[in-house]
Symmetry: C2
Subunit: 249 residues, 2 copies
Amino acid sequence: MSWSINEVAQLSGVTSRTLRHYDAIGLLPPAWTAPGGRRHYEQEQLFRLQRILLLRDLGLGLDAIGDVLAAQDHHSAVEVLRQHRTWLLRERRRLGQLVKTVEDTIATFEEGGTMNPSEIYQGFSHNEYEAEARQRWGDEAVDRGNAVVAEWTPQQWQDAKAEFNSQNQELAQLMDDGVAVTDQRVQDIIDRHYNGMTLFWTPDRESYTGLGQMYVDDERFAQNYESVRTGLAAYLRDAMKVYAETRLS
Amino acid sequence: MSWSINEVAQLSGVTSRTLRHYDAIGLLPPAWTAPGGRRHYEQEQLFRLQRILLLRDLGLGLDAIGDVLAAQDHHSAVEVLRQHRTWLLRERRRLGQLVKTVEDTIATFEEGGTMNPSEIYQGFSHNEYEAEARQRWGDEAVDRGNAVVAEWTPQQWQDAKAEFNSQNQELAQLMDDGVAVTDQRVQDIIDRHYNGMTLFWTPDRESYTGLGQMYVDDERFAQNYESVRTGLAAYLRDAMKVYAETRLS
DNA sequence: ACTTGAAGTTGACGTAGCGTCATCTCCTAC
DNA sequence: GTAGGAGATGACGCTACGTCAACTTCAAGT
């Protein structure tokens, strides 16, 4: 008893195109091919196809399926499946995180906010919050800030971004280590942050403290710090407050 | 201030090829193109690129990103994101199920079993268990069974599979409804099962009861019934036992 | 003015797993 | 002998670019 390609297709539920494809890539050659070129499948091929489809439903790629079926010993086949399982778990975790982020993005949208709140020294202008920034800090400061960055070279932008990221990473590390916000190492980083700000704006004690508070209160900003490390926004706020009270007037 | 393609690439972290691609598909045209063909990007394009990359990281496709960015009102943009979220959740659930199935498959492998235990009337031959079946039921029965199915036409195979699946589905429904295994409706289905078996093997009271027990004990078979409905293997076993005791000798 | 080297450009193919034509050939029945 | 159905073989399409290859363009140096 042998089956034609369309018969196999009906039995298995795949299309004849798929079977030709599996033949083309050597995954499932027919039992024999007639002089006219027609493919003929036997029981053995049906069983192999069943195994292929099982593994395909598990999400394995066709070449991985080939590996599993070619594996003589169970050991190596299991190895492929284990790797696949690990991949599935990673992928699932990633999707879970994406869901959260998408939900946050939706929430931001609905609150009337815009996308992508992160920009070099957040809380300042040259981003979509310019209008808000003008209200908060006045036209003069905003215009001055815009004028500054408008002249920046790409290298300067890049350096500024790198410095900003570096500050966050170092701060997160200190927070992880349980270092108090009054510690000199923390305050040194805050000093770099403050100096970065002075490139286009010079906050005083009150406004710098207020800026720190905003990093926590405003979800659009908090989100960015929290994505670096949970609790970083609050840690940064506290450190900025200490800095403002000890170094600013 | 304008940026060259490689400068933008460095700033954003994508490759210049990607930027050319985004230009080609109209997602991010440069601010202007020099007579020589060189692309020049301005602040506006950088912001748009940031938004694009954010959405890309969320897992949206490029055309979906185009939709979101083209959406004038927040409402329709949120709609796209909501759909995406639903898709993410479905995908995540699916991956979770796949993980379980892969784990089961690995377990089966490690117990020395082979893949794809399901075959028409499980527990019989013409599958990878033939050697085991010969031990269990003797050469004669196995050879007879093989001889029968070897002559089957594709249509017959298909019908047999459909009938087998139908039995399981109907049985699962009755189980869901809390119908006792002694109920006539259940016993009618078992009768169909028994008659199916007699196509190549005629079990007696003892062997039919034993077959039912095996559906539960042997993970390779149990798994297939359990995947239709949890508890179906045991339900089937009980029903087969009742059938054997009342109808067989 | 000419050359050189870096940076940029436009094709074009490859990836995974087939779907979907278009075009030809084969086989069987009448 | 011929019609019609089944099957065969290309070839393009899809996603989001990576990766050559083969040419230009542009700014700097001689």
